[in-house]
Amino acid sequence: MALSAFVGEVQRGRKADDTGLDPQTQAPFFAILKEERQKHQPLAASDTKWLVGLTVQLVAAIRAEVGVVGFWKNAHAQEVLRGAVFTFLDDHEIVPFDSADAVADRMLELAKANHAKLVKP
């Protein structure tokens, strides 16, 4: 019984929250960035707004790249994007330098999993 409620919740998917981010495309990236940042410091309300803005920029950059045909078969293109994400994370000091590599990997993993949603016009 409890499970059926949960299944329904999973099937409905992520709902819009008060950040104003698109629940299909942007919110999953925001969730990871938030989680990773909170590992090192608490997230204040003003930080949330700042992180939302950065998420929008980051997802726009990722969408522009993964939309190219054959992107996930092109190891070099993926490495270039990973480098760009790494630089973005470091420039804005979203996460500490030491964990930026691993977080960039998570961003690309998520982009690959959500590819269909991200390239939908």
Partner: protein
Amino acid sequence: MTWLVLGDLQFEVRRSDRRRTLGLTVERNGSLVLSAPPEIADARLERFARQKRFWIYEKLAAKEALPPALPIRKFVTGEGFPYLGRSYRLHLVADLDVPVKLEAGRFKMRRDEAAQGRATMVRWYTAHAQPWLAARVARYADRVRVEPRLVTVQELGFRWGSCGKGGRLYFHWQSILLPPRIVDYIVVHELVHLREPHHTPEFWRTVERAMSDWEPRRRWLAERGHAFMV
């Protein structure tokens, strides 16, 4: 030793008290081993082997498709020795400050070392593999989010790498003969083992997260890795 012959296939039958099920192995040299609990009748063994014939022929054919192992290397001037995916020629010289060194695109070896040439080369490979692999391990450790404690290079039999207790990583000295991108795959594979001991779907997902094109590298290693054995 008991044998079971079935057409052109010959099986060595090994019975053991500890065995609970029937098992069939195609060994590295192409010989066939049938393992069984002691009480299983010969007729049952034969039926089992007969059922598995197609699988056996498939495995044997796959073995034949592999390039043949390289002939034993001789320690004479002009012989090629691989290092990080490239082949370098050996040059025997009369006088040298160390037993062997890589200089100007050649392995130079003192002539009096040639008799125990293999041991000398293994020492050289091991010594050079250690810092190289340690640097690669350090580079990928952050991405896999593990903290390896010790990188050891040694003889590991038929394995390229292995993962021990307490964050210890072991690599076969022969892994340094492979191209760097393949060695990187071995490094990532072992690092992920520090998090996931078994080859579960989560294991491969973690490998993919750190190395998106691990699959062609893995295939390359399976198909061509053994040609780099010295």
